[in-house]
Symmetry: D2
Subunit: 507 residues, 4 copies
Amino acid sequence: MCGIVGVVANTPVNQEIYDALTVLQHRGQDAAGIVTCEKGRLYQRKDNGMVKDVFRTRHMRDLHGVVGIGHVRYPTAGSSSSAEAQPFYVNSPYGIVMGHNGNLTNAEQLTKEIYEQDLRHLNTNSDSEVLLNVFAHELMKQKKLFIDAEDIFNAVRGVHKRAKGGYAAVGIIPSIGVFAFRDPFALRPIVVGKRVTEMGVDYMVASESVALDAAGYQLMRDLDPGEAVVIANEGLIQFEQCAAKPQLTPCIFEYVYFARPDSMIDGVSVYKSRLRMGEKLAYRIMKEFPDNDIDVVMPIPDTSRTSALELATILNKPYREGFIKNRYIGRTFIMPGQTLRKKSVRQKLNPVPLEFEGKNVLLVDDSIVRGTTSGEIVQMARDAGAKKVYFASAAPAVRFPYVYGIDMPSASELVANGRDTAQIAEFIGADRLFYQDLDDLVDAVGFGNKAIKEFDTSCFSGCYITGDITPEYLASIDSSRNDHAQAKKQQVAQESVGIHNGDSDED
Amino acid sequence: MCGIVGVVANTPVNQEIYDALTVLQHRGQDAAGIVTCEKGRLYQRKDNGMVKDVFRTRHMRDLHGVVGIGHVRYPTAGSSSSAEAQPFYVNSPYGIVMGHNGNLTNAEQLTKEIYEQDLRHLNTNSDSEVLLNVFAHELMKQKKLFIDAEDIFNAVRGVHKRAKGGYAAVGIIPSIGVFAFRDPFALRPIVVGKRVTEMGVDYMVASESVALDAAGYQLMRDLDPGEAVVIANEGLIQFEQCAAKPQLTPCIFEYVYFARPDSMIDGVSVYKSRLRMGEKLAYRIMKEFPDNDIDVVMPIPDTSRTSALELATILNKPYREGFIKNRYIGRTFIMPGQTLRKKSVRQKLNPVPLEFEGKNVLLVDDSIVRGTTSGEIVQMARDAGAKKVYFASAAPAVRFPYVYGIDMPSASELVANGRDTAQIAEFIGADRLFYQDLDDLVDAVGFGNKAIKEFDTSCFSGCYITGDITPEYLASIDSSRNDHAQAKKQQVAQESVGIHNGDSDED
Amino acid sequence: MCGIVGVVANTPVNQEIYDALTVLQHRGQDAAGIVTCEKGRLYQRKDNGMVKDVFRTRHMRDLHGVVGIGHVRYPTAGSSSSAEAQPFYVNSPYGIVMGHNGNLTNAEQLTKEIYEQDLRHLNTNSDSEVLLNVFAHELMKQKKLFIDAEDIFNAVRGVHKRAKGGYAAVGIIPSIGVFAFRDPFALRPIVVGKRVTEMGVDYMVASESVALDAAGYQLMRDLDPGEAVVIANEGLIQFEQCAAKPQLTPCIFEYVYFARPDSMIDGVSVYKSRLRMGEKLAYRIMKEFPDNDIDVVMPIPDTSRTSALELATILNKPYREGFIKNRYIGRTFIMPGQTLRKKSVRQKLNPVPLEFEGKNVLLVDDSIVRGTTSGEIVQMARDAGAKKVYFASAAPAVRFPYVYGIDMPSASELVANGRDTAQIAEFIGADRLFYQDLDDLVDAVGFGNKAIKEFDTSCFSGCYITGDITPEYLASIDSSRNDHAQAKKQQVAQESVGIHNGDSDED
Amino acid sequence: MCGIVGVVANTPVNQEIYDALTVLQHRGQDAAGIVTCEKGRLYQRKDNGMVKDVFRTRHMRDLHGVVGIGHVRYPTAGSSSSAEAQPFYVNSPYGIVMGHNGNLTNAEQLTKEIYEQDLRHLNTNSDSEVLLNVFAHELMKQKKLFIDAEDIFNAVRGVHKRAKGGYAAVGIIPSIGVFAFRDPFALRPIVVGKRVTEMGVDYMVASESVALDAAGYQLMRDLDPGEAVVIANEGLIQFEQCAAKPQLTPCIFEYVYFARPDSMIDGVSVYKSRLRMGEKLAYRIMKEFPDNDIDVVMPIPDTSRTSALELATILNKPYREGFIKNRYIGRTFIMPGQTLRKKSVRQKLNPVPLEFEGKNVLLVDDSIVRGTTSGEIVQMARDAGAKKVYFASAAPAVRFPYVYGIDMPSASELVANGRDTAQIAEFIGADRLFYQDLDDLVDAVGFGNKAIKEFDTSCFSGCYITGDITPEYLASIDSSRNDHAQAKKQQVAQESVGIHNGDSDED
């Protein structure tokens, strides 16, 4: 999962993109990048790290222009390299930079095609480089010296035919402006906003509507599945449907966990959807455990606070924030001659013991993935004096790998893989465990926009909306994750070839 | 307000102090420093910045030893310089390093004495350098080649006689170990913890008990007012009361705002005290506004969440988190030829519009200081669609400057200065404003520990517990704050003289 | 003038290329870059600055592989941007990186062609990016999936047909290995060396033979004019003549000033050629000034030491090093409120006054360009007590701009432009001035290798060996140099787009 | 050996001290530091590294004031720590900063006294910290609130009584200005210069006169042995003899090797003295080897060029620079999995083979210490084709350790220890070896100033001028050098305690 943003404005965009990336920082904290364009020349700064660490005054000063894009990166399952920051660049044709959020499930096949058809070299493992080169190839095929928005839409049509998976992309072509497109299943979110100023109308595309809010843009709408938009340097905006069979089936996990609560995605308020998840879950608990002896309901901060509060209200139980999250996270240094101390969840959460002592607590989390963290938290609750510890998950059991852009463990690492609810409860040490029903989850989110007939719920249901996920592919992910672990040390250090990033450390 | 920590352990302390400073980061984000000691030699790393930015592997590697102290700094009213990180060092006598949390109200007088009596040069505006040199002088007076804990206690006795204000200090003398002391009014918090390991007993002193929790130390107790502790390098711990007339009157603002909710300070759970603030405030609102038309209660994150929730529960109104806090804060860059855009509270908070539309909302904050932020938030609520906006403060009106270590505005800058509640409501644009009663606040906190007969409530009551705050002093603060603003540009750049900090940027 | 190096070895090449660049540092101190290749992936580090500042351990660690190239950059007249370090990269076709030394005199025309024929975007002003893209286009034209050395030679043939000017280039194609080529007039130097090791034969190409010496390579030979070499990843080396009408006319200025004395270029020892320049100049002085009253001969360090010593020997006059060069050069900082002090030649040279007092001194320099430095030095000699100051230049008067890769002033800035020798002597304040004859210079250098029938002597003679330098071109250089001055501030700050350079400042 | 500078001027001194340190960089390249003073406050920047790397714009900006001192450090035998940059600071009494060049031979004894008499803690191994604290103690003893120049002179008198060894020191006391003093034997050089400007008279003290030249100061004179100078903030300069029995016996090694040729030290031109060394050595060779078959004389750059040239002239043999020095020195990186390649003298020198082939060469160096470098160079000459290789040293055989501030090997590491000339020639592989006579060396230098009756020639003669060097002391140096080697890894990393150095890496 990554965050993307693109702006065509009437004033310099460097600070605005920086601010938008800061707001989208929750979508990716591994790397950040901005490319701007002025007078046909592209200006870049990208590096591993948080937004506030990657960009210094000297970098911002050199990001010229009123047109630009930005990216924050989170490593995805298919693209194991943690060393390549986005956006990526190719100089042929026209000069194109692109950043994307999502995951291509046929990246390996495309890589082969790109080289064989086009002699294009890929220098990273990133499927964003693949996507860019597929797009570049589709654009090149038209062999025009001067291109317009329609040519870009045609190239996107070509991309949609060849690329499998979920993707929301944003890019720049210096002679045109900013373009963006969304996969035909609308798996990854992307919105468009406008801002009317004295100097003219500015446009922003972004992964989430919160990025628009922060910069004073009004949400126009989400891109439709398969749709593309071109915002010309001169300010003209054009939308076009580029997919043969678009279908609105957004990823339900955005609502469960990834998106910010104050975002609207495909017409649904993330915050409201989480309240409804709490409500549904409450009724389920009341049904399963009618004469419960729960003394207090506690969220595991931060995501589950919204649903836990509503859950407590419906259950008519006190709501207490028994775990305090450490806002400032440090590092564990490896010192010569010292053994590495394991940093556990205790570095991230601290209990307020008075809230636990002698009570039966119901802990609420947004979901349970590996189960190890949940287990540690249950133990912390007991150590803090809890009598009984119940556990509730606002999402159903995660039983299948996610392949469209969230770096989720492979099937074998999921606690729910091959375990029933009672066994999972035992694994995490809870006295009792409650999972949301998948239907309830779908209702909780879908209630916000009746136009969404279906969601991608693959990690709960095993039903992959793109219809092309084979057991072989899942197996390859599984093994690549393990290979990945092996290769990590080498990969992390990798610094790839390219055009000058210009980080002279000048005063 | 700053955070301090000191450790005498049986294994290297660098990582442990680093972790503790991370946990105490909320007490000061301007600067951070660690000094450790091994075989009579002191090792230091300090700089402006957050803990995670100040310490890199190369620094940690050079912080040798099983004895050390750490500091995170927040600029205080009396010490306007933002360029001197702590701890401070003097080489005479014995070599002493010290860091402190608090503010000396007679720093100017002491500075003069230090030079005249002792010919000691001070190279900063920091009252921590003053405190260290007073302590050094008192220790020197005893003219001993070999000192023990008793000599340190005598020096602390001398400090208590001369220094006015609030202070909790921690230091190292290489030949002795770690020492710490607390002012005779217990204005600033400091706790002592122990940890039994296979290698022996480790001790930690820290500003808040959360620092102990994170490292697995058990809270032994708070230092008494005026008390000092010496933890010898060899592990012996000795406590001693060093004040003539100690009196337990802790600063009530720690509970209202500054401390972490999961801390225990002087026997009172900060979290519980905030719940009780919400409860008291609810009853007050019910009394003042019996037939209220409040639709929803909303905290202004993060501090007020605890009291707002309890308040909503008592009022029997829905509790909603209508404002989402931006966890990642960026910078505003000053670009040549661009005008600086004002970063308002909107950079920090984003509303969830659906929660506001058409509703009468009661916003709850921990306190109101200048009133400008509150005003912006009220406006945001209205912009998001709120019909009526009520405002409640979990603390009483702040009408007087705070002089014991929190950098609070001078009287003239406080919105409550010379305004009654209705006028303040008008100033911040609220339809109605509710303040906590001071008695209720005192009850809410004091309920947790009946042994506390009195609190310092000076910023609410104007009653300064140390009894030596003159109108002249307050006036001097007022003008120095303005001078300070003037001098800021020069001061910020200031890099002071001293012994090598050793930040060679080697690989 | 830049320095280039390429290596195909049997052990990692990062340190070896680093060392070679250090040895070639005199050819360019503005920027440095290395690209290596392993298993089809390219690894890069480049930045503005000296070699020792650009490469840190973390960068070296990530330059994997036994194949690589390096570059040190000196800004050339035609390529005004001082912000783009080399090598450059294009991903299509095959992935190519390239660095070059020289200057293309038809870069503007080529830039246009590149875009129109190939839709290739150039993102800098560097003619190296132009050369790379011309090469890429010529290679692409052959439309092969698998290429071999012959395809590269064909592409070089295409480059030679289209590119005008002087150039020596080195590059990598991951699937092939390292390639290098030299312009058809052999204007820029490039040598090939081999080293036999237990693991096999290693090859290095470099701008000067000193780079080979330092790494233990034996000089095989210079590339012929127009010749190309391909050193396959597996170690096979292939040479091929790729120019229609190659002609060996090396740039004589390399011998006069630019190259290191311990280099052999096209069979001529630079050191020996300088001795002969001194000898020839001595005879000329003896002829022009038979009854001279010269007391002492002094070089202006460092380059002219060689010729000055021989000159003194022939003249039978004492040789003294009256000027000491400051080996360590600092910066002049611009402080707020302080005026910038002019850094003159006095920062670089310091006289030994005792050597000057009361004497008639003959100062010897390698050449005179603008005349301003010479004037300052003459004045320093007088200030140090010299009675008379004579001046001798080991090269003839520089009257024409140099267009093949040395950043020399435009005609209007040259002191010899429109002035005879007496007028120049007056301009620099010398009592008498002696210039080398051009024929003598040609003899001095050419004596070392009778196979060289002609040199490019354009800056002395105005005769441009490539035959295509028009008055219009010279005029455009003149104005672009001025434009350049205008644009400098913007350009210097420019950080160009591209693939990740990966300079995370991790510990 | 270190370099020091102090300035009291009428305009800001930061750039001026920076420039002076750059000029003195040859005296120490390990660390650099500047402290300035304005309005009673000291501003500091110091770190390991070269001058140009230690000071960035942000540091210079913060070095306020028209009074300041600077230091470049070279590790000395007695002070093994390579991590403490100078100047050092103590806050008691008055605030004093000091930097020094030299070595105290009774540092261990003084360290003990300092703690016992004064309870002063030393946190480094640097004898500069010792010297500063002795000075501080002597100043404190006078117990005055207000001090003047006479008090400083009294403190220097006390220092001279207690400190043994060679030292030239410069410091600041904020209330006074700059002071400097020289040891009673004048072992280390220090000069005073003045500059008359429109704003008044500026004064500079510095290790060598070249620092004065560069900044436009006129050399007033060297400090006499034992003399001190105080330059008040207001510009008044006062000199005073502070030693009981001063004696002018400067270190002859400054002339042989360490000082810049363009410096005047104690009235002797370093350049001239080296010419005379060459002359004397020539006559000695003519006498020892009357019918020599030397074909060519070659210096080993850079220091010996001066004497080698004169030597060649007297011998009437050609002088050739057969070795070219690499001006740019890189690093050897330690890569995981790669073995460290030994960097030999070949990284520093490159032969011009044509000059060696078939010839009998006489190599000239300034001195021979360990003999290993000389041996490598002799081998290089042979590899380059030399028939016979003779070697001449402009200084006599180095047989004894140097204890006054140059980091020379201990006796056991010196090649001349226990070997006669023939054996040394064999050790370095030379066909014949010529050493300067000590008397000739003394004459060569002393000729420049007849007032110098004696030099310290201890490393050649074993006669230590201070008369207090015991065999025990020499033995302790020997073992500490070995201990030092052991401890190096730990020490290098050491970052010492102290006051804030303020190197926030802000943009």
